[in-house]
Amino acid sequence: MRDIAVVAFSQSICVADAGAVNEVELIMPQLQAVYDQLGLASAQDVDFVCSGSCDYLQGAAFAFVAGVDALGAVPPIRESHVEMDAAWALYESMLKIRMGHADSALIYGFSKSSPGELPIVLSQRLDPYYLAPLWLDIVSLAALQARMLLDRGLVSEREMAEVVVRSRRNAMANPQAQLAGEVSVEALLAEPAFVAPLRRTDCCPVSDGAAAMVIATVEQAQAWGKPYALITGIDHRIENHNPCLRDLTDSVSTRQAAEAAGVAGGAVDIAEIHAPFSHQEILLQRALGLGGDTVINPSGGVLAGNLMMASGLARVGEVFRRIVAGEARRGVAHATSGPCLQHNLVAVLEGV
């Protein structure tokens, strides 16, 4: 099988409201940044392009088509899109390269979540007969999951606060973060409930922004002459859409994906976990089989800034960035999609 390398990554600053900047204007600077990292002129210089976004976020049908305006599709390019986090666009791009149909791929994800009421917009991902008509928002669903973990003693409110403390602290070194700073566990525990048992600080913020990445065969990466990280394993698994038919106190799909991706095949220096809620990070860390030697979410993770449809890709990008900087030799990136961690992707990255 052809080895695949991540060769470039860029992510915008997470902002609560990008205001007058439209989606194309959000995407273009990130595309330009990865072109500049590799000395490319445009998307014409890669073999395949795949993006991840969700039209519901901005409320415009087929809005992802407008994203192509940022690419320069004259003459026509080979392009695809997933109505998911761009981590799955990465997966599709890897398949394209593995099949020998491309040697390089540009991947981007973008979201302007601020135009709508995101937790309510995302309620419409639920089944349309039993749950979506109730407008069961995603924060409440996560709160139901957190209660189960707390009731069974699998997680404590203090542990959840500790996740937030670490996220905010690590985010101080991340110029793209939206929420950063020193906070104490006691101060967080003194915060009022938002959707009890969750506090606002247990929930990721709503962010606008975009991220872009270039992957390639090792031969192509070497031809570009830039530092790269190998993706040595990747897998994704999905569970039932009905949260009541899943064990919400575990993430079986993450466990399976981690095993298939080979997480346990070596020491894991860092892990970037896509956990929109604090209790989910604890749950996912266990499902990924990560111990105390692994630095979790050195970027601050999505609790410090959550670009819907780009956060998963950004987790891979953050691991890549640290490997090529020499801060880690082997790392794990995780992406999630759907309510209460329904669908999970795990990738293992290694330096060369």
Binding site: V24, E25, S42, V68, A73, V74, G116, Q124
Partner: protein, 171 residues
């Protein structure tokens, strides 16, 4: 009550979602100047094509566009259709003409209405001019222009549509 015994086979489940749309930097500039009665495009720094309405990028080159280009009121018909059936929600009474028009100085068409014309005589390459509403009615909207009407100028050959300079068409 017999009707009540029929099993349920379908549901009505309308979904209404509320959003705040923001126009983006380039469309905001376009709409702001449109309110002042001026049509404004943007030129690509790489291929020099002028786009109207501008979206802040050149879709051909994939680069940001910033240079603004003030365009005039004259255009050329690139394509057209005569609408003979009523469209639900459309207040315009058929038959009417919808056309792809390329403004002088621009390289891409936009869609608007043609009127003050004999529908059967409309043709590709025909020269037309914008008819604006009274200025006190101007808003951030493309219907500041009521429609385009034919001009008494020679036709533009098909291969030159989209390549007319801002200074206008001289055959």
């Amino acid at each position: 009550m017999a009707e009540q015994k029929e099993p349920v086979t379908g549901i009505k489940s309308p979904v209404y979602l509320h959003y705040r749309f923001t126009a983006g930097k380039a469309p905001t500039r376009f709409l702001t100047r449109l309110k002042e009665g001026v049509l404004t495009g943007q030129r690509c720094p790489r291929c020099s094509n002028v786009y109207i309405p501008p979206r802040g990028s050149c879709p051909a080159c994939g680069v940001a566009t910033e240079e603004e280009v003030t365009l005039g009121n004259k255009a050329t018909v690139q394509s057209f259709t005569i609408v003979s059936i009523p469209i639900p929600g459309n207040i315009i009474e058929p038959p009417y003409v919808v056309a792809n028009l390329v403004l002088d100085g621009a390289n891409i068409a936009f869609i608007h209405l043609l009127s003050e014309c004999v529908n059967e005589e409309i043709h590709i390459g025909q020269r037309v001019q914008a008819v604006w509403k009274p200025s006190e009615e101007w808003d951030y909207a493309m219907d500041n222009i009521l429609y385009f009407k034919p001009l008494d100028e020679p036709d533009v050959p098909v291969d030159q549509i989209g390549h007319i300079p801002i200074s206008g068409w001289r055959s």
